[in-house]
């Protein structure tokens, strides 16, 4: 797969504050890449460095073999969809989309044709003569998208484009964006703090935390196999426990939590390097009143201390040992006997497969 954009040892500081430190990343041609992280993680600064709105303090940004690190925005073949759309209020929708094309000296007929195509692409064919103020948030968003896409950039940057939209419109726009990206085949770099949005849209996700890359991987990888405690927590992982020891037992690793529980994990599903934490998703843990068969790798005994019904599932908090609370969630789509009849204070067994758990650094 060809690499469109190469980021090498990129650094950015504001005054003494380090915003980005030693960022290395290759962006593949035609992929949908997402920078995911909480506010202050540096994801927007990284995007602004790619767009040319900030200058790096060190490192290089190479676009198709050309170092663009210090080029001003108007000389980069990269376009941005801004967070607040940034549509020109004094221009019509048509003029907004034509704005960039006029700068590259295209003939009027060619501009008109391209703008019309772009308007059709975002299903705003009849809105060319309106002013941005006359459009809804979702329509403005589409204009911003069309205005950037019509430039046929080598990389399209999207800075939390759906942040201002309500939930329903957001989902609709996400679906449209993904379909659009498949259709045009351009490289998209998308910034968001919403993990669900990142999972549903991306080919790959880059998780950022306090100015460094925490993990890069496919959505399934990031969700199922987070490599650090930060990524696990950010992806909504519960049941994260600090480990006091990890002992090699041949086929599997035997981990002991701070609360004194022993958990086993197959060797091949664990990563190399320092393991500081063990984690398992509540949905992978089964609850039962009777001891599960011996074939199950991990079994803990505890007492239910809280139960919450959330419609699609039942969440249980189970006190295990002296000071650990494990969470298990039971989906409510079937009538399995095991999921009915639990009450607070019940003694239960928690059980799950060895490969369901993961080790985190």
């Amino acid at each position: 797969m060809t690499v469109t954009l190469e980021i090498n040892a990129l650094n950015k500081r504001f005054g003494r504050q380090v915003i980005l430190e030693d960022i290395n990343l290759s962006v593949r041609s035609g992929e949908f890449l997402t920078f995911l992280g909480p506010s202050g993680s540096g994801k927007t600064t990284l995007l602004r460095l790619l767009g040319g709105f900030e200058r790096p303090d060190g490192g290089r940004i190479v676009l198709e073999g050309r170092d663009i690190s210090l080029l001003p925005p108007h000389k980069r073949q990269v376009n941005t969809v801004f967070q607040n759309y940034a549509l020109f209020p004094h221009l019509t929708v048509f003029q907004n989309i034509a704005f960039g094309l006029q700068n590259i000296g295209l003939a009027k007929a060619a501009i008109d044709r391209k703008v019309d195509q772009a308007l059709d692409m975002v299903q705003l064919g009849d809105y060319g003569n309106r002013f941005p103020e006359q459009l809804s948030g979702g329509q403005q968003q589409r204009v911003a998208l069309a205005r950037a896409l019509v430039m046929e950039p080598k990389v399209l940057l999207l800075d939390e484009p759906f942040g201002a939209l309500d939930q329903k419109l957001r989902h609709q726009m996400q679906t449209e964006l993904k379909a659009l990206q498949r259709k045009v085949g351009l490289t998209f770099i998308f910034v968001t703090h919403d993990q669900e949005e990142a999972l549903s849209l991306s080919d790959r996700i880059v998780v950022l935390n306090q100015g460094h890359l925490e993990q890069v991987g496919h959505p399934e990888e990031i969700y199922e196999r987070p490599s650090t405690r930060f990524v696990a927590e950010f992806m909504g992982m519960e049941n994260i426990f600090a480990l006091v020891s990890v002992v090699d037992e041949g086929a599997s690793l035997c981990c002991r939590t701070q609360g004194g529980q022993t958990i086993r994990i197959p060797k091949q599903s664990s990563r190399n390097g320092m393991a500081g934490f063990y984690a398992v998703r509540p949905s992978k843990i089964a609850l039962s009143k009777t001891p599960p068969p011996d074939t199950v790798a991990n079994v803990l005994k505890g007492r239910i201390c809280e139960g919450t019904y959330v419609g699609s599932a039942h969440h249980w908090s189970v006190a295990v040992g002296r000071n650990e609370t494990w969470k298990a969630s039971q989906p409510l789509y079937s009538n399995r006997a095991s999921q009915v009849g639990f009450c607070v204070q019940d003694e239960v067994y928690l059980s799950w497969d060895g490969q369901s758990g993961i080790l985190l650094s």
Partner: protein, 283 residues
Amino acid sequence: MKTSPSFAWILPAFLWLALGLGLPLLIILAFSLARREVYGGVQLGLNIQNYVRAFDSLYLAIYFRSLLLSAATTLLCLILAFPVAYFIALQKSSLIKNLLLFLVTLPFWTSFLIRTYAWIIILRAEGLINNRLIEWGLVGTPLNLLYNNFAILVGLVYGELPFMILPLYTVLDRMNKSLLEASADLGCSPLKTFFRVLIPLSRSGIWAGTILVFIPSLGAFVTPDLLGGAKSMMVGNLIQSQFAIVRDQPFGSAVAFLLSAVILILLAISYRTTKRGAEVRVL
């Protein structure tokens, strides 16, 4: 649905304007159609001779100079004010912003008359500028900086500059700064961005500033009186001299009424040209 506020809110101001502007204008209109008596008295009547006389070539030159000086003042103010307003609007710290705005309005704390006198001290033959120029050997004899059109222009620009900076600042401050980034992103160099985005988006501020600067400049009489010479009379001085020196109140009234009419027409034109833009913004 918003209900319109009651007109009672504007009644006090309306009465004040009617009394302080409408009534005097009517008096001036009546005077302009009157005849001057021998000792400067006013004999009311319906004569247009004052208006005919107002179009004498002698006076046309004065109007032309007034228009030219006012236009030059407005243009210079615009050129000087834009970077200042832009600079203040881009400040991130609101403390610095407010401090700079305070500095812009600081001259208002001193009487306009005193500030204009100060320019005499700066510009006169043995003034601040000429003394330095001679001291440094740049010129042999003092430059004629005072009592001419140049001095009036300097005085007018100085006096009116804040009235251009403030409305420009207001529009630039309100402007979404990411529009400038969007423009750069779409291939505009900073210069192109200035003409394609910055200027069109500050149009309402430019209009407001132009009106606030051009109209007072056109009617100015303190500045040309103090800084101008005998050959650089402006229409304000003409009116003032007719009332205070020549004591031809009917002719002074005719010129004053013409000036008001011209200003009103200019305002009407500017209102019509900006109305469409204002409507779009409100939507």
